[in-house]
């Protein structure tokens, strides 16, 4: 019997209007909660469904292999795909080593005050709006040197660092103390402990953090608006110049009146969302598997 049933058996006021009213409130609140969750799911389905439905018709081999079109013609997103891939890759290469080092310092070496300072610093950096980061890189580098996809990658790296560092730091703190203590007791230097024992144990969580950060940053538009928006709309691998990117392409196409452009925008959005969703699923799978091994180990 459930708690409620037991209670009813011995409750002399069972059936009184007060209890009925409270029960009704309970049911109403449950209903509200269920409806809210359904509402959120419906929103997701609505947006994803619209993108899928409107974008799928545009997707063909041409779309993936042709660069952008000039005024009045149909084109593809090949140039934007390559640009996005290169910029996100560069951003990841820049951000991940730095973020891991920062997390190692906070988790392994810093005293309580320093750790707290750097942790707050990371959270504050995480809260800086993406557009401000874009303006920062613009003011520091683009002015006088021109736009470049490397600058875009730097801006995205600044956005990635707090995310990866926080995930790494949390997972490092989860690594059992006895692993470190055993290693130190065996005479291994501190840095070897971290490098050979702690990091490999934490690699799953770190990878999860990286994948999530990549997914988040692949869709960022504002920093690229200032660093990689004036582009040759041709397929190019030259990272010195500004390269076209998926988010900027979607942003530009979204305002056009031409049905061709709008269809291209939906299709590009579909590709971007598919990438982001796949990354999120990959991250969850890694996290799930690693958690099992940490708990089982």
């Amino acid at each position: 019997m459930s708690v409620a049933e037991i209670r009813d058996q011995y409750d002399i006021t069972a059936g009184s209007s007060n209890l009925r009213r409270r029960r009704r409130t309970e049911k109403a609140v449950s209903a509200v909660a269920i409806l809210s969750a359904l509402f959120a799911v419906m929103l997701l389905a609505l947006v994803l469904g619209t993108v899928l439905f409107k974008g799928i018709s545009q997707i063909d081999m041409d779309f993936f292999t042709k660069p952008a079109a000039l005024f009045g013609e149909k084109g593809g997103i090949a140039d934007a795909l390559i640009g996005s891939a290169l910029i996100v890759a560069m951003a990841t290469i820049l951000a991940v080593p730095i973020a891991i080092l920062v997390a190692i310092y906070i988790a392994e070496y810093a005293g309580p005050k320093a750790a707290s300072f750097f942790r707050v610093m990371l959270d504050v950096l995480n809260g800086v709006p993406a557009i401000i980061v874009g303006i920062f890189i613009y003011g520091m580098l683009v002015v006088g040197h021109g736009q470049s996809s490397v600058y875009g990658a730097m801006a995205l790296a600044i956005l990635m660092i707090p995310m990866v560092a926080r995930a790494t730091q949390e997972i490092l703190e989860l690594v059992p103390r006895h692993l470190r203590e055993a290693s130190l007791a065996l005479g291994m230097p501190r840095w070897r402990t971290v490098y050979s024992i702690v990091l490999p144990t934490a690699i799953g969580g770190i990878l999860t953090g990286v994948v999530i950060a990549v997914a988040r940053v692949a869709g960022e538009t504002a920093p690229l608006l200032f660093t990689s928006s004036i582009t040759q709309n041709q397929i190019s691998f030259d990272v010195h110049n500004a390269l076209p990117t998926l988010p900027i392409r979607i942003f530009t196409l979204s305002e056009s009146p031409s049905p061709d452009d709008q269809a291209a925008a939906w299709a590009a959005a579909l590709v971007l969302i598919a990438f982001v969703l796949v990354m999120n699923i990959v991250a969850k799978t890694i996290a799930g598997r690693k958690r099992k091994s940490l708990e089982g180990g």
Partner: protein
């Protein structure tokens, strides 16, 4: 340290000097990285203010409450954008917070485990939608829908309220606020879910044992327990809403005036920077736009740091009472 008998399993003896050097090097590199990142944060704040400085000097603090933005007459003022930022974000918050708490309650109290996990994932995926895609959806689908259905409905039934007066418009403060709501929900509901799942079982069990319904247990125990965390979640959502520029600029319509009604176009700090900075036609215009950026940075930082402080004090109080 020398052992009396050589232990075959011990690692080869390492020179003490070697230990120190490796450790110092590694720690040093990690420290340099940490300081470097802190320096980047500092430079961001410095650079934004430095670039805006000529405008700050020229207009002073009165920039914040000046309503005009007329480049042709060299009149610049932030009030319209501050108003837009605050209104869109606060509306988004008012709509998203109860929804997020309800969703969190559903996931922690009502849904069985097998149902909760996929639904939680789906709510998180809402956060994964890039803002430019939400903006695209806003321009082509949501905005027209708001203009042809939602706004006439609000106008018919609630038109006596000034915020719902006037003619419907595809682009305006209301669609922007609603898009921001969609963006905030996953953030606040994820934090609330964390909070509710951490409420100590014995507290809510005690309440149930005393005869409360589940909702009363939640209302009287879980929510007050989690209240500081909820307020931190609200502040974090607010910070996210303040900083969103792209989706907002796509659906807000670049208005220049402060209206009582939510239907006409308006503009926010981030959105105006996104639409005008690249093409700024004079130095003072660029600097004034950066002054807007400085204001945005300040309110973002204040909201985020407040959320941090609340979380810290909350955790300290918990530790004191538990310890």
């Amino acid at each position: 340290m020398s052992t009396v008998t050589p232990d075959p399993l011990a690692p080869a003896p390492i020179d003490r000097q070697g230990i120190r050097f490796g450790d110092v090097l590694f720690k040093g590199v990690a420290l340099v990285a940490a300081i470097g990142v802190a320096a980047v944060l500092g430079s961001i704040a410095y650079k934004v203010f430095a670039l805006a400085w000529p405008a700050i000097q020229e207009f002073g603090l009165s920039f914040i409450w000046t309503q005009g933005w007329n480049p042709n007459a060299n009149v610049y003022g932030a009030l319209v954008f501050i108003y837009g930022t605050v209104v869109t974000s606060v509306i988004a918050l008012l709509l998203a917070t109860p929804l997020s708490i309800a969703i969190a309650l559903f996931l922690t109290e009502i849904a069985p485990g097998r149902v909760a996990a996929p639904i939680a994932t789906m709510v998180e995926l809402l956060a994964a939608i890039p803002s430019v895609v939400l903006g695209l959806w806003g321009i082509l689908v949501f905005g027209p829908c708001v203009a042809s259905h939602l706004e006439p409905f609000l106008n018919t039934w609630f038109g006596f309220l000034p915020i719902f007066s006037g003619d419907p418009s595809q682009a305006g403060v209301l669609p922007a606020a609603l898009v921001l709501t969609i963006m905030i929900i996953p953030i606040t509901s994820a934090i609330c879910r964390e909070l509710f799942s951490r409420v100590p079982r014995d507290l809510s069990d005690g309440s149930l044992a005393l005869g409360s319904t589940r909702w009363e247990a939640i209302r009287r125990v879980a929510i007050p327990y989690a209240a500081p965390g909820i307020s931190a979640a609200v502040l974090l959502g607010l910070g996210r809403a303040f900083g969103e520029a792209i989706a907002v600029t796509q659906v807000i319509g670049a208005g220049n005036t402060i209206n009582q009604s939510l239907f006409p176009p308006g503009d926010t700090l981030g959105s105006r920077i996104a639409s005008s900075y690249i093409g700024a036609s004079s130095a003072i215009e660029a600097q004034s736009l950066l002054y807007l950026g400085a204001i945005l940075l300040v309110i973002s930082l204040v909201t985020n740091v407040s959320a941090q402080l609340i979380v810290n004090r909350f955790q300290k109080a918990r530790r004191v009472s538990a310890g």
